[in-house]
């Protein structure tokens, strides 16, 4: 993570408010920053095509006896699969709704992870923060008797508060005792899981007549309004998520707090020398990260029938968020695109599974391959023989020794 620019920036410096922006990569040209993920995506699709072709057990034995028609059949299969993937992701209003639906919590949770990365903190706790935020939302959504819009706002804020507390505690532990946030946030995921499991089994939350951990449904006034009408699942949650993207961009690159976060990420000693409260910043960064994940958790209850909290409300979003944040290079706008890509893969993967009978696992593999290539830019550069414009360093996190 400590590569230094070997060549001077060939483009004129963008009109950034602070010179540090050029150092953190916030101001690098959009085209260049998109090129690498795009090439990674294309490369992953190409490898995926080989996988689809070779995974057809029926065709393999004929490959050598009748290569022509076998290859044609394999090509058709790849075409069917990718066409289904595209159709399921963007091919209809329903598909777009599903893509946006899957994207919403990913954006929110990934923004939280990205703030952590910028501040040099590896936040693996989005999962737990979603769960705790979601439970706070459920509590308000079930018990508060408020008119529609107010109820939605209060329930979302409850999610924020729950997530902030759950994110802030590991931050405080790190600030006060030096406990590494990788360890504590992972452990807090488990604490959150079993806490939620317990909460969902006491009468306060558990739905009457149920033995398994499921909450009462939220009051209708706490449901997120749907965006394209009730037959589509996407809600105004996506608008909240996009608003959060711009809020976080402002926070990180235009506010003095964001500046301090980035200094903390790049060089905490310098920050301390400049009079910043390093411990306070760590706590705040993780609390904000938790708050964003908390909204993601709230969204999974308020925006999804049957509007009940369960122990699986976070799904795998909290962990996918790490991948998305990495793919988005910890930049809010990058996170937006990366989350859209993952949301599209999720929605499209379903169609691929249904129409082309390609296992959903392939989508996970595509995601993994994309990340491998994004994480190894040298590899992509080598594949495409790109002339070595050195990447500007993007601070992700300090290592274990931080």
């Amino acid at each position: 993570m400590t590569t230094t620019p070997t060549k001077p920036e060939p483009l004129p410096p963008p009109p950034a408010p602070s010179t540090l922006d050029t150092v953190t990569g916030a101001g690098t040209s959009l085209l260049r920053s998109l090129a690498m993920p795009a090439l990674a995506f294309v490369t992953a699709l190409i490898i995926g095509a080989f996988i689809i072709a070779l995974s057809n057990v029926d065709l393999l034995p004929q490959l050598f006896s009748d290569p022509g028609s076998t290859l044609a059949a394999m090509g058709r299969e790849v075409w069917t699969a990718y066409r289904a993937l595209a159709r399921g992701a963007v091919g209809s209003v329903y598909a777009i709704s599903e893509t946006l639906f899957a994207t919403t919590p990913l954006i929110l949770a990934s923004l939280g992870v990205a703030i952590g990365f910028r501040a040099g903190l590896f936040n693996i706790g989005a999962q737990g923060q979603m769960l705790v935020g979601g439970m706070c939302t459920a509590w308000v959504g079930i018990y508060a008797n408020l008119p529609g819009p107010l109820h939605v706002i209060v329930a979302l804020l409850a999610g924020v508060v729950g997530g902030m507390v759950w994110g802030g505690i590991p931050g405080l532990l790190k600030a006060r005792t030096g406990a590494h946030e990788v360890i504590t946030t992972i452990m807090f995921n488990f604490i959150a899981l079993y806490l939620v499991q317990w909460l969902l089994s006491i009468p306060l939350f558990q739905e009457a007549g149920r033995n398994n951990p499921v909450s009462e449904p939220l009051r209708p006034s706490a449901h997120l309004p749907s965006l394209f009408g009730s037959s589509y699942r996407v809600t105004i949650g996506i608008l909240i998520a996009v608003a959060a993207v711009f809020a976080v961009r402002w926070l990180l690159f235009q506010s003095s707090l964001g500046f301090e976060f980035r200094v903390l990420g790049l060089n905490p000693e310098a920050g301390r020398y400049a009079g910043m409260s390093v411990g306070g910043l760590m706590t705040l960064a993780l609390a904000l990260a938790g708050g964003l994940a908390g909204i993601a958790g709230a969204n999974q209850i308020m925006g999804l029938a049957p509007f009940k909290a369960t122990t699986s409300l976070a799904g795998s979003v909290g962990f996918d968020a790490i991948t998305v944040a990495l793919l988005g290079r910890s930049h809010p706008v990058g996170v937006l695109w990366a989350a859209l890509l993952f949301g599209a893969l999720k929605a499209g993967g379903r169609e691929m599974q249904g129409a082309a009978q390609i296992p959903l696992d392939l989508v996970v593999v595509l995601q993994a391959l994309i990340v491998v290539f994004v994480a190894a830019p040298a590899l992509v550069r080598a594949i495409y023989r790109m002339k070595g414009v050195a990447e500007r360093p993007t601070q992700l996190t300090k290592g274990w020794g931080a």
Partner: protein
């Protein structure tokens, strides 16, 4: 919504574990990035068109509960013959119009070696029997937000019959069944009250087989003490324990012995429960050990893999004791290091009931409502004795077979044999 949450023995255990497994599995995705290619080959190679073979070999979910090693085609034929006798079915054979079928798993996925695998096996068997059109659709649910779109996807692909697996899909199934009255649904391990006009619910009278297992256990026990414990005191778990206790009582009655059951009181309907279906929970092993301490040498732990810590305890202590498996033939389904321990498994035939539901649809004999799996319709049964075959005396084996036959014929009412 008036949902009745009775059948849960199978559905609960993965559910509780899933939350943890899900966390772990998701984290695996990060790990997988390193070895993406390997993962691909494994995942795709197994899951593609080749699923039937994979499941047949791996899961031991073959339908006929009494003989799981039989080749698939044979059991399929056997099942066609027995269809006529099954409740909720009227005719077998005859004209079948292959149905476009689609199966939605719960979070455990199709390779769970448990009820998802078994249900998919049932769909495959139905294809082999000509009841389901080629290339049925399989949709795995990655998280709870997938249930609805997976069912949507089934409908979009023109499915005429949708099989939903497990308790967690109960609500999504009910909603979609109401919205799509022209499509038939079969749900595994879930009951509705009242029934829904286009949903068949698969539930199981497992105490019939548990009764015979209790008789068998009493016959082979050297200490004269049979132990049992469950995950939670819910009907689909306790029905196994009830059957076991009544079977032991029947053995005592028949043979003038005094074999005791520790861990379940039929009168009080209460007993020993771990409170969890997570085999990693230390409470599971300590509960097993406390029952072993009371002298039990045959144990029936009810609930997914909560029998494994007990197996480890038996091995660590070097006891000459045995376990009774549940749901799927444990000899095949569970890790091989425990193979010596399985006396027998009380099997729940999910594949066969799924297959029958599809077959009934194909023949036009399909009816909605709860369908109870029993010994008589071969949806419940005992496995082979495997490693214990040499230690079960012939006359005892014959007596157990006779009991199974008597229950099937209705001369023994396993659910009402008195105890004590």
């Amino acid at each position: 919504m008036g949902l009745r949450f009775a059948p849960r023995a199978l559905s609960l255990d993965p559910m509780c574990n899933q939350t943890v497994e899900d966390l772990l599995r998701s984290r695996m995705k990060l790990v997988a990035m390193a070895g993406a290619l390997l993962l691909v080959l494994a995942a795709c190679g197994g899951d593609d068109d080749d699923t039937a073979t994979t499941l047949d070999g791996g899961a031991g979910t073959t339908a006929a509960p009494t003989d799981t090693t039989e080749p698939m085609v044979d059991t399929t034929e056997a099942m066609v013959d027995t269809t006529a006798a099954a409740p909720g079915t009227t005719t077998a054979s005859g004209d079948m119009t292959p149905v476009a079928a689609c199966l939605v798993t719960d979070l455990a996925g199709v390779d769970d070696r448990s009820f998802n695998a078994a249900a998919w096996q049932g769909v495959q068997d139905a294809v082999a029997a000509g009841a389901v059109a080629a290339d049925p659709i399989l949709l795995e649910s990655d998280d709870a937000t997938d249930y609805q779109p997976n069912i949507d996807q089934c409908l979009a692909q023109g499915a005429e019959h949708i099989v939903t697996v497990g308790f967690e899909l109960g609500e999504a199934t009910a909603t979609n069944a109401a919205a799509n009255p022209e499509v038939n649904f079969t749900i595994v391990d879930f009951g509705y009250d009242p029934d829904i006009a286009n949903v068949r619910e698969l539930v199981y009278q497992t105490d019939e087989a548990a009764f015979a297992a209790g008789y068998l256990a009493a016959g082979v026990s050297q200490t004269g003490i049979i132990g049992t414990y469950g995950g939670l005191n819910i009907p689909t778990v306790s029905i196994f324990m009830d059957g076991l206790a009544r079977g032991v009582a029947h053995y005592n009655e028949t043979n003038g012995t005094d074999v005791a059951v520790v861990g379940w009181d039929v009168e009080a309907q209460d007993g020993s429960f771990t409170g969890t279906f997570d085999p990693g929970d230390p409470a599971v092993r300590s509960l097993c050990e406390s029952i072993l301490d009371e002298g039990a040498d045959i144990m029936l732990p009810v609930g997914g893999a909560i029998n494994l810590p007990c197996g480890t305890a038996i091995q660590d202590r070097g006891l000459d004791a045995a376990l009774i498996g549940v749901d799927q033939d444990a000899f095949d389904a569970m890790p091989t290091e425990f193979q010596d321990l399985w006396l027998v498994t009380i099997e729940k035939g999910i594949a066969i009931q799924v297959m029958r539901s599809l077959q009934d649809h194909a023949t036009g004999a399909w009816t909605p409502g709860g369908v109870v799996g029993t010994l008589a319709n071969e949806a419940v049964g005992l496995s082979e004795y495997h490693a214990w075959a040499d230690r079960v005396p012939d006359d005892l084996a014959a007596a157990v077979d006779q009991i199974l036959a008597d229950i099937t014929a209705g001369t023994i009412d396993a659910s009402n044999v008195p105890v004590g």
